[in-house]
Symmetry: C2
Subunit: 303 residues, 2 copies
């Protein structure tokens, strides 16, 4: 998977950082997490094709995570998208979309498969395809806010060509069937089990997205063992009181969540405009969780 | 007055042109016409101070003229604006703002003095200050759309220092009173009329803003004798049929409106993304109305 931050500023954009939005791209499709104002322009800058977007996941309805929705959806309408778009987020989106459609503000011509949630106390699968599942649960912000987690399904183990040859399995369609996990019978009556020629199942990659939230038990559960935890780090510890009051996390708190969840890597984002130079945020997180990266708009992370 | 186009693309943004928004700046304040997505970032790039914004005028509710409203209003809230903001536009804005406030999408902490119109068949003053008035009327688009016109009030004539001296008016407060149009009595009993020492009244500048519209009689009335007509020119004549169907103007139609209204200068904007090179639009307009300028994002026009 490739993770592309499209906006890394909290509250309002700066000339260097747009407001929250983040793409998770895998193979021929991508997923969008949050869609702050201007996300569609960042998407174009990142070279992401809107026609390959499968699903949008909104954490909460604060404008800096959400105001880019009507423009981006309408642009896909103008571009004659016909493919269904999956949309998940907090309750209120349907009312919002209905109002915008009635007032003719937005222009959406394709089906939107929307599920909205008013409560999600436990980690729950909210979207699943043949290749991955997306789970969500409630975090701890000023208003109802969801965190998300993407888990790729495990892939079959590597095909052991040498072993297949040594068992005299003829190269061709039988190899493909074995590779996809099927057991096969040869012409001489022998049964070859897929597990005889495949290595151990390879785990899929996983990414968790925790914006906006105070540190909480659900963040740790959401991020358990992920390859990459994307977590807000609005403030340094110096502003811990303000973070608590506004429902945000400090960089140290984000790092502790990554550590306690056993995440492999941490990407911090959603920086207060009070930090035109965010390096103190990175230093604070790295002191607790060294494998931390600071998000920059349009700078891609390989998972 | 200074006119600063903040977005010149129709429908959706490109990497070179944002969607519709335009600032009219005069002395210590400025006015915003339309507020497409990303307008707040363009405002920052233009160096316009949000705290000096007096009023916002929305032409119609299509998202490419309107989706920047909640983000920009909320940013001024985050920046602790307390000053009242004047807002004018079509009916629907109040319902939209109420919905966004209820869903906690927007964050507005200062008073908004909103008037919205469901019908405005005649040119009507919709906002007036000591220095200028703004009038509006209905144009001819796919949905209800308003055009606007700013007229600065005439300023008193220039003070004739030589003449005041020759009439032995003592320099000081009396000069100020005469300058502001008041008649004064000197110590020797003589009455000096303001008109004795002031030149002819100087007319204020005027600007009209016609987006989005088909060519129509009201556009011509709105633009009558203005110093600068800002008019949409979404297409070239080649696409006149499409322009008509979608409620837009060609560059030639914009030019004819400028000519028929006796405008001094024409600024064309709101270009279809089908014209990555908009020079054919400029050529088409100039053939009919030579004093035409093609709008570029953030390139200022002095009126």
């Amino acid at each position: 998977m490739r993770v592309i931050p499209l906006g890394t500023s909290s509250g309002k954009p700066t000339l260097k950082r747009n407001v929250s939005a983040l793409a998770v791209a895998r193979e021929a499709e991508w997923l969008l997490f949050d869609c702050g104002e201007g996300a569609q322009t960042q998407i174009a800058r990142a070279g992401l094709s809107p026609s390959r977007l499968s699903a949008v996941f909104i954490t909460h309805l604060h404008g800096d995570h959400f105001n880019g929705v009507p423009g981006f959806l309408s642009t896909m309408g103008l571009d004659q998208r016909t493919r269904e778009l999956t949309l998940r987020g907090p309750r209120g989106i349907r009312e919002y979309m209905d109002t915008l459609e009635r007032l003719r503000i937005s222009f959406v011509t394709y089906p939107i498969e929307l599920k909205e949630f008013a409560s999600l106390p436990e980690l729950t699968v909210v979207h699943e395809t043949a290749d991955y599942k997306v789970s969500a649960c409630e975090l701890d912000h000023r208003i109802f806010a969801l965190g998300y987690r993407v888990d790729e399904h495990p892939r079959p183990g590597r095909f052991n060509v040498e072993r297949a040859r040594s068992m005299s399995v003829p190269e061709g369609p039988l190899w493909g069937r074995l590779q996809s996990g099927e057991d096969v019978q040869l012409g001489d009556g022998r049964v070859i089990r897929s597990s005889d020629v495949l290595g151990p199942e390879r785990p899929g990659k996983s990414v968790a997205y925790c914006l906006d939230t105070r540190p909480c038990a659900m963040s740790i559960e959401l991020a358990r063992g992920v390859d990459l935890l994307i977590h807000e780090a609005t403030y340094t510890e110096e502003f811990a009181q303000e973070a608590r009051e506004y429902g945000h996390s400090t960089a140290a708190q984000a790092a502790r969540t990554a550590r306690d969840a056993g995440a492999h890597q941490l990407l911090i984002t959603h920086f207060s405009t009070r930090f035109p130079d965010p390096s103190p945020l990175l230093a604070e997180a790295c002191a607790i969780f060294p494998n931390t990266v600071l998000a920059e708009d349009l700078v891609e992370i390989e998972v």
